[in-house]
């Protein structure tokens, strides 16, 4: 405990340096802006800025990305409450009761509760992140290839189940991602695979143009193809921001429940902030003494889900920092940024780069504080961002993406890959495919392949020896149960209704 306190104090010392404070502030503002703008979510923003993190140090890049992720969660709630427009998917639930509150003239109270709830959730999830990462990374040091294989396989399998779309489509996306990850020199044998003699391809397909294309450019394409939006923006007066005593009393317990729930859901693979908001909303409705008020402007329905989506962000960092495995697309971007700086996240990172981990954790506290301080007084400014014409915003974003991709390797092939994957991402998304599993599989794929081949080498080709280890077996059983629980419940219900 003493060591944790010392590390945290050192982290705050570094995080309070002017450069890192600036990165946290820029991240928080950019995150809020992307959260406000419909279509451009935190993932798109991270993808667009990924290449520019090269001009920063690794800690600065992590601070910027954490700020963007948290900021987007804050920003999304603003437009959900005031305009009934969810800036990003995790704010959809907030629209239901937040907008109803706004119609009743309680928009200010909803915004305050949402901001305070997000702050409490952020703080709780950062505490959870600290302890969970330290515990897990300690355990993970004893993991062998079989365990890492099990974590990778189970993570991707759960992602297929929980990502929301068709299971077959998600599975195809994962397999395509894994296939793309095998392009280049095989690092165990040194033999070239699927390179067609191209020198660029021998280094593998670059993560950056693929991620920026599939998330950044395809999001721009989807937003651009829709006709221009013109919003009438509501003004919120400062004196309207204070909730009543009754509203505080109803919302504070929901904030804490949402925080714990969100953090736990954040540990699961998939779009955790989105799932967390829905689970929180349903549980708040079940617990409430007045469930009939839900959907008509219940403040608990704003406080709980808003806390849950922020807490899920902290939870999502745990598997990345402790195991080096990203369970959400946003964490794949964070991993991409770490890899661009030559870092390999995993159990050793906490020991080798304790300064990075603790500075990022400390900056998360600061970022959360900045977001509350910024968002409430500047709510009208952020909402006005919606007035920027789309035909000016979209070309600017595309230009930033192109210059960003070029700046990393000065490669025209990367620019072409950006355009191709942007178009591929747009086509796939319009046909109902989720691009997130593809990106995650591209990141986790090499780890799964290496672990599988090493594990087979160690066990002398014995598959049972890989599966029948305590941790592996537990993970496979849990995954199997999660996978079959929903179809089994459906079958059970059908049988009961027939009987």
């Amino acid at each position: 405990m003493w060591e944790i306190s010392q590390n945290l104090i050192a982290g705050f010392g570094a995080a309070l340096s002017p450069v890192y404070v600036l990165y946290a502030l820029v991240g928080a503002i950019l995150g809020t802006v992307t959260g406000v703008l419909p279509g451009l979510g935190p993932l798109g923003a991270m993808a667009i800025l990924l290449s520019f993190t090269l001009s920063m140090d690794d800690t600065g890049a992590m601070i910027l990305f954490a700020g963007i992720y948290y900021g987007a969660m804050y920003g999304g709630s603003t437009t959900s409450i005031l305009l009934n427009i969810p800036g990003e998917a995790a704010s959809v639930v907030t629209c239901i009761d937040g907008y109803e509150m706004a119609k009743k003239g309680r928009a200010g109270a909803a915004l305050t509760v949402s901001a305070v709830g997000s702050f409490i959730a952020g703080t709780i999830s950062i505490l959870g992140l600290m302890f969970a990462v330290l515990f897990l990374s300690d355990v993970a040091l004893r993991f062998g290839p079989a365990e890492f294989l099990a974590i990778g396989v189970c993570g991707l399998t759960l992602l297929v189940r929980l990502s929301g779309g068709s299971i077959l489509q998600s599975l195809i996306m994962i397999l395509v991602g894994m296939a793309l990850a095998t392009v280049g020199v095989d690092f165990l044998s040194g033999i070239e695979r699927f390179t067609f003699g191209n020198l660029h391809l021998s280094q593998g397909i670059e993560f950056l143009p693929v991620a920026m294309g599939i998330f950044g450019i395809s999001e721009v394409l989807i937003t651009a193809e829709e006709k221009e939006y013109q919003q009438s923006v509501k003004k919120v007066k400062m004196r309207e921001l204070m909730p009543t005593r009754r509203e505080w009393k109803s919302s504070v317990p929901s904030m804490f429940r949402g925080s714990f729930l969100g953090f736990l859901i954040g540990l699961i693979p998939g779009p955790s902030p989105v799932i967390a908001t829905f689970v929180s909303y349903i549980s708040e409705k079940k617990i409430s003494k007045h469930p009939e008020e839900f959907g008509k402007g219940a403040i608990e329905a704003v406080a709980g889900p808003e806390a849950a989506n922020n807490a899920a962000v902290g939870g999502a960092y745990v598997p990345l920092f402790a195991l080096g495995i990203p369970f959400t697309p946003a964490m794949a971007m964070v991993l991409g940024a770490l890899m661009l700086h030559g870092l390999t996240p995993g159990p050793n990172l906490i020991n080798q780069r304790a300064d990075l981990f603790w500075t990022v954790v400390a900056s998360m506290y600061l970022g959360n504080f900045m977001l509350v301080a910024l968002n409430l007084p500047l709510v009208n400014v952020f909402v006005n961002i919606l007035r920027i014409p789309k035909h000016l915003l979209m070309p600017t974003i595309v230009l930033i993406c192109m210059i960003g991709v070029y700046s990393v390797n000065s490669s025209q092939l990367d620019l072409l890959l950006l355009a191709v994957f942007g178009f591929v991402g747009y086509i796939l998304r319009s046909a109902g495919f989720q691009p997130a599993p593809l990106i995650l599989a591209m990141v986790i794929g090499p780890m799964i392949e290496t672990s599988l081949r090493q594990a087979l080498n160690i066990t002398g080709g014995n598959f049972a020896g890989i599966v029948c280890r305590p941790i592996c077996m537990t993970l496979y059983i849990v995954t199997f149960l999660v996978f079959i629980i929903s179809p089994a419940m459906n079958l059970f219900r059908r049988l009961r209704s027939r009987a």
């Binding site: 520019f52 001009s55 599975l171 397999l175 095998t182 695979r193 193809e225 942007g422 081949r453 080709g461």
Partner: protein, 163 residues
């Protein structure tokens, strides 16, 4: 589902199946090794087989889907296809002209193309805005952030401007 979406789904299914088969054929040329000592082709073959099976099932599902809803598509009427052409066209043409025209001119060309096709039909404001964006992005990225961009006479002049 309208006819356009159905056609798009069928095309995607064929493309995915084609990719899977090509990947599988490519992986069969690699050394598989043994389960005791897996070679570089071991994992790709497993992926290739799974991918071919999955895309095959997807293809069959798409083709077997009933053509029940081959109605005209009302949603397509509200879509801005000029914007799509502008962005995709810029994305593909930028790497092709960047080496020859260098940064400022190629950025100006693609930005103008996007601005002109996305909304405004008046070329003059688009020209001015595209020029401003090309110059501003060069100054920000090259001079301020130190990004290495393709340099020609214009870029060298701008880079040395003001010392």
């Amino acid at each position: 589902m309208d006819g356009n979406s159905r056609r798009r789904e069928v095309t995607i299914a064929w493309v995915l199946l084609g990719f899977s088969v090509l990947y599988l054929v490519g992986s069969l040329r690699l050394e598989i090794g043994t389960t005791r000592n897996p070679g570089p082709g071991f994992f790709p073959i497993v992926m290739g087989v799974l991918l071919t099976v999955c895309t095959g099932i997807y293809g069959v599902r798409v083709i077997r889907k009933r053509t029940e809803a081959e109605k005209p598509a009302p949603a397509a009427a509200g879509k801005n296809y000029r914007a799509l052409v502008a962005i995709i066209g810029s994305g593909i043409s930028y790497p092709l002209i960047l080496g020859t025209l260098k940064f400022v001119v190629s950025t100006f060309v693609v930005t103008f193309m996007m601005l002109y096709l996305m909304k405004s039909r008046r070329p003059f404001p688009c020209l001015l805005l595209a020029l401003a964006m090309a110059l501003a992005s060069f100054m920000i990225f090259s001079r301020l952030l130190g990004v290495g961009l393709p340099m020609g006479p214009i870029e060298i002049f701008l880079f040395n401007l003001g010392g």
